[in-house]
């Protein structure tokens, strides 16, 4: 497979007041890869996701999607003095690019949340259907007067297909939040897929799952990568899952990437064993 870069994070630092959550992060994800981001609690993994998806503007650094710069910032205002990260001068003077999260999603980057965020008053089916809204061609008048019948039918059909794929048919009309934990995570993935992404960011998709469910999820993630032609970037704590399906792994500690490589390389990296794997086994 010829390498085609999908996501590139360049010198990204995220500093909250005096706390540096992500420290000069550099990473790349290529088309069709499954790349995992691991690291101890509070290492800054979710924060990295939030930067990539536009929830936070980084304090410094840039993010590229399929070769286009989509996010860029440098220490400004109060941060000029407070900034303690690296490379402050690299982007200074260039204009800041800070798209809102919805714009990022429309570019083709979808995500799930570590602390599940389903639309709680909506049914399972409606949760998926809502994600189809961004692909509409109708406007508010054609939608209100039901002149978009074809599109509405397509939205519903595609949502049904995703429901089926995620094996949620039998709970179609249940309130989303009444589902067991594992199913809610499935629904979050279905909802993200409904936006037809090219890059899928999964924040701890197996959290709260038992080993059996984790195993099924592992296979499932591999399958959707192939079926949907996806690129997957994922945060995960379950080492079995990570080691089995990742093409490459980045290890984060105190906001800093400390290692990168194939599962084999990462497993045998002494710094990783010290910082993370050793600790995790004690837990």
């Amino acid at each position: 497979m010829s390498k085609e870069n999908v996501l590139k994070v360049e010198n990204v630092t995220m500093q909250f007041g005096g706390v540096i959550a992500v420290d000069n992060m550099n990473l790349e994800v290529d088309k069709g890869e499954i790349v995992s981001l691991i690291g101890p609690n509070g290492a800054g993994k979710t924060t990295a996701f939030n930067v990539i998806t536009g929830v936070y503007a980084p304090t410094n650094g840039a993010v590229y999607y399929k070769g286009n710069k989509i996010i860029q910032n440098y220490p400004q205002g109060k941060m000029k003095k407070l900034y303690r990260g690296e490379n402050p001068m690299t982007y200074t003077g260039q204009h800041a690019i800070a798209p809102t999260p919805d714009k990022i999603t429309r570019l083709g980057i979808a995500r799930t949340f570590q602390n599940i965020r389903l639309f709680k008053s909506q049914t399972v089916f409606e949760n998926i259907l809502i994600a189809k809204h961004m692909l509409r061609t109708s406007n508010i008048f054609t939608a209100t007067f039901k002149l978009n019948g074809k599109e509405e039918a397509r939205m519903r059909r595609e949502s049904e297909e995703l429901l089926h794929l995620m094996e949620l048919d039998d709970v179609r009309d249940e309130p989303a939040t009444s589902l067991p934990y594992g199913k809610q995570r499935h629904l979050e993935i279905a909802r993200a897929l409904a936006t037809k992404p090219e890059l899928l960011l999964l924040d701890e998709p197996a959290a709260g799952m038992n080993p059996q469910e984790t195993l099924e999820l592992t296979r499932f993630i591999g399958r959707i990568r192939d079926d949907f032609g996806l690129t997957i970037f994922m945060i995960e704590h379950h080492m079995d899952l990570v080691m089995e399906i990742s093409d490459r792994i980045y290890v984060l500690d105190f906001g800093k990437p400390i290692a990168e490589g194939t599962p084999e390389e990462v497993r045998n990296n002494p710094r990783v064993i010290e910082a993370y794997l050793g600790g995790a086994q004690d837990e």
Binding site: P101, D102, F119, Q122, I130, H133, M134, I140, T195
Partner: protein, 362 residues
């Protein structure tokens, strides 16, 4: 139930309602309190539903309803006062500067558009902020607009603090029912569309909605502008009902009344807002009137406490009780529908059969 069957049922019910109203008007004297309640109730139902679209379905808290109604009412009145009576209405302002009239439906819609334009302008800066700011900004807007419309310098247009009158009004209760009904139907169609789903997503979880590609600022603005549009139309209808208007009528107390109607009906239920609107108006204007009668005797017993104004005390207590014990309002977020009722009866019937067998789940 199939969509066709549902539509047929709904059309039938609407026709039956209109015929019933028509017959009532033939039978009862036109001064009957029932008509007051029906007319005002229909208008308040519209403004309550418009507020619910924003507060209940999009999760934005606005307190500007009275201000937008004022804009709608004034726009309607200013453009419909017959040219020949402008001299007497605008007697202190040489007949005012507007010397033409618009047809009633056009003027009503114009009222909605004026309200919508103001909402758009307020929304531009405010909707970027956290939602609490919208409540404060809209409340402030409503107060300011009321003052501005009483300002003498604008007298040639607004007639200052004097009454606007002589504009066309309605006599039959059918008119407000049809007008409010059409508007509410439009709001319901919007709520059931993909845009309505996006509104509800924003209400449930802004961050998740944004992650699903929903542009928050754009959709919030849409909901706010549309809600204000219909508040403007209901203001025009209210002007028609009252036959005279004055800026000082549109106090924030009016907004709170509407908010109460929404809360009592159920935040997020259109039919709840409608039902509670009629109940609210009936209680405040009609059913509790007897409490204001100082000389009420039951048999030989002189009922104590009753005096003018006592009605309002009782009304306040009733409302507090409703809000305390019916947190969810009458309807919660449920809707009253033909389908719901037919399902209810089906369940009842099949439930009876199952009863013998023991437990039936409800």
């Amino acid at each position: 139930m199939s969509t066709k069957k549902k539509t047929a049922w709904n059309a039938g019910l609407i026709a039956a309602l209109l015929i019933l109203l028509f017959l009532l008007e033939q039978v009862l004297p036109s001064s009957s309190m029932l008509f007051t309640v029906l007319k005002k109730g229909a208008i308040y139902a519209l403004v309550a539903v418009s507020m619910n679209l924003l507060n209940g379905f999009t999760g934005l808290f606005s307190l500007g309803q009275a201000g937008f109604m004022l804009l709608g009412a004034y726009t309607y009145a200013i453009f419909t006062i017959p040219v020949e009576s402008r001299n007497s209405v605008y007697q202190y302002f040489d007949g005012g500067i507007i010397q033409f009239t618009l047809p009633v439906p056009v003027a009503l819609i114009a009222g909605g558009i004026v309200a919508a334009v103001f909402a758009y302008l307020i929304g531009l800066p405010v909707l970027r902020l956290k939602s609490d700011y919208l409540a404060i900004a809209t409340l402030g807007f409503a107060e300011i607009i009321r003052a501005v419309f009483q300002w003498d310098k604008l007298g040639p247009i607004t007639n200052g603090s004097n009454l606007l009158r002589n504009f066309p009004s309605f006599r039959s209760v059918i008119f407000p029912f049809v007008a409010a009904g059409i508007c509410i139907a439009l709001i319901v169609m919007l709520i059931n569309s993909t845009y309505g789903r996006a509104f509800k997503a924003i209400r449930d979880d802004e961050i998740a909605a944004e992650a699903m590609g929903i542009n928050l600022a754009h959709h919030k603005r849409l909901a706010f502008v549309i809600s204000s549009f219909f508040a403007g139309i209901s203001g025009g209808l209210l002007a028609m009902y009252q036959t005279t208007i004055q800026a000082s009528m549109f106090k924030s107390a009016m907004t709170y009344e509407i908010l109460l109607i929404v809360v009592i009906g159920g935040i997020g239920s259109v039919t709840g807002s409608c039902i509670s609107s009629f109940l609210f108006i009936a209680c405040s204007e009609w059913w509790l009137r007897f409490l204001d009668n100082e000389n009420l005797y039951i048999g030989g017993f002189h009922v104590p406490l009753l005096r003018p104004g006592f009605r309002k005390v009782v009304f306040a207590v009733v409302i507090m009780a409703v809000v305390l014990f019916y947190r969810q309002g009458i309807m919660g977020t449920r809707e009253f529908s033909v389908e719901g009722i037919s399902n209810f009866f089906k369940k009842k019937l099949s439930g009876k059969k199952e009863k013998k067998g023991g437990s039936s789940r409800e």
